[in-house]
């Protein structure tokens, strides 16, 4: 047992910090924010989200608004996706890359109006994304504003999410499609309500004013009690997204890889009008094919492959684990890992777990997919 070193700077606090403390949360510094890691058993929180529902505080996420007559054109230029093709009220998973095609961040972009978008960035990258958008906005009639301080974000995720939320919003939830977001009311407060998430389950994300966060959180938690809703922390969020095969920036995604290595080349839209940052490099990479491939590994033993552990293909070091954890749903350790693109799927895979080769089976991602 070794203690983790203390943080360099005091982390920022979300508007729900006191609520988490009252719930007995284990609070940790994550990307410069004091966030709930878990409230009790993270495995129980994970299972609750898969079977019932969980409530997450995601107020650390960055929100950047892009507005103006050329907001759509700017985003087509700045991001790899075709953002002008997104209809009002819809959202798109996309990425922002550098000129070499390296991923600066993965994003969810909501089109709130003809000339109004909300870009949601990872907490650790919010400043980088904001700066890149401002720089890329030169020459466009569009305004980029970091609005992170104006939003708290609460996610309600799980098969019971609709049942829990329905009595507390005027929105007709059945009409809100996956990856849609609208201005609505939740618990009587104005919000941007989106049907998005990072757990592999149905669910909603509620963007609200920080001053309304406690009211909305408490209303949803109370409403969900009879449905088995529990507050869930970042630990459960990480195992949920890992089972769902969703990448995490800093693990699967970084400037060192393009979307093609991560198996997410589909987010790069070459057929949109005009040039975009990273286009030439990404086009070349798409033609030559990715150098590495992101694969799933299921360990045969009980020792857990973790971020940074070497992957052995037919006994030789060939790749690296990007994320690994014990999977509550599979009951086995699972991992995502980069291996050479030409590594045969039927080769012998193993992970070097602290000096010992632990055999693993290569599988297709995701590890878990909910029944539709």
């Amino acid at each position: 047992m070794t203690d983790t070193p203390p943080a360099q700077q005091a982390p920022r606090e979300t508007p729900l910090r006191a609520v988490h403390e009252a719930l007995g949360a284990n609070l940790v510094d994550f990307a410069g924010w004091l966030m709930p890691l878990r409230y009790g058993s993270e495995t129980a929180e994970h299972t609750a989200v898969r079977e019932r529902a969980g409530l997450f505080d995601l107020s650390h996420m960055g929100e950047i608004s892009v507005t103006g007559p050329q907001a759509a054109a700017l985003l087509d230029h700045a991001l790899v996706g075709h953002m002008s093709a997104v209809r009002e009220g819809r959202a798109r998973y996309t990425m922002i890359c550098d000129a070499a095609g390296g991923v600066l961040d993965d994003l969810i972009v909501y089109r709130l109006g003809e000339t109004e978008y909300l870009v949601v960035a990872n907490a650790a990258n919010a400043d980088v994304v904001h700066a890149a958008l401002v720089e890329r906005a030169a020459g466009f009639d569009a305004t980029v504003t970091d609005r992170s301080a104006e939003f708290a974000l609460i996610a309600l995720q799980g098969p019971k999410a609709v049942e829990i939320l329905a009595p507390h919003t005027d929105a007709t939830l059945d009409e809100i499609k996956y990856y849609a977001g609208y201005r609505q009311q939740v618990a009587g407060r104005p919000v941007m309500l989106a049907r998005t998430g990072y757990t592999g389950e149905d669910g909603f994300e509620v963007f609200c004013a920080p001053a309304d966060a406690e009211h909305i959180w408490s209303a949803l938690l109370a409403a969900g009690e009879q449905h088995g809703l529990v507050p869930a922390g970042l630990s459960a969020r990480d195992t949920l997204r890992l089972e769902a095969g969703m990448p995490l920036y800093g693990n699967e995604l970084s400037r060192e890889v393009t979307p093609f290595e991560a198996g997410l080349g589909r987010v790069v839209k070459f057929d949109k009008e005009g040039d975009f940052v990273g286009r030439d490099a990404l086009l070349a990479r798409s033609k030559e094919g990715p150098r590495q491939r992101l694969v799933g590994l299921v360990a045969r033993g009980r020792r857990v492959p973790r971020h940074g552990y070497p992957v052995l293909v037919d006994g030789a070091p060939a790749g690296e684990v990007t994320s690994g954890a014990p999977s509550p749903t599979l009951g086995k350790p699972i991992a995502m890992a980069y291996v050479p693109a030409d590594a045969p799927p039927d080769a012998e895979y193993a992970v070097d777990v602290r000096g010992r080769a632990e055999p693993a089976d290569r599988v297709d991602l995701p590890f878990y997919q909910r029944a539709k």
Partner: protein
């Protein structure tokens, strides 16, 4: 958090309790340690007969977020391991000072063992060490 006073504590968040048999101690991890780890999913323990050296790793404990070495609090040989943890590693979370114990170590001589235990923290000292800012 309660700190039982019938055990001694190490800086690596293990506890050590004299077993009924002279010269034998039972070892586990503390309540503080299991809270820091989160859900324990796997505990790797040596088989009886294995020699352990004070301060050296003798096993590992895997939780959702991390893997940690277990360090031997005293030197000797392993005389028992808690086989129940093979199927119920969560006993470390639910009963860290009881059913969640890990190994029993027999020290080669009783004087050496007494000296080793004297060198460990008592409940008050350990409580102070984990509440320090």
């Amino acid at each position: 958090m309660a700190f039982p006073d019938d055990v001694k504590y190490t800086a690596e968040h293990e506890w050590v309790r004299r077993a009924d048999r002279p010269g034998v101690v039972r070892v586990g991890i503390t309540q503080y340690a299991q809270e820091q780890l989160g859900d324990v999913v796997y505990v790797s323990l040596p088989e009886p007969g294995a020699a352990v050296t004070a301060g050296d790793p003798f096993g590992e404990v895997e939780s959702t977020k991390s893997v940690s070495d277990l360090f031997a609090p005293v030197s000797g040989s392993v005389v028992a391991r808690n086989d129940a943890l093979d199927t119920q590693p969560d006993l470390v979370n639910s009963d860290p000072y009881g059913d969640g114990w890990m190994v029993e170590i027999e020290a080669p001589d009783s004087e050496g063992l007494a000296a080793a235990l004297d060198g460990l923290m008592d409940a008050d000292a350990y409580a102070a060490s984990v509440s320090a800012p």
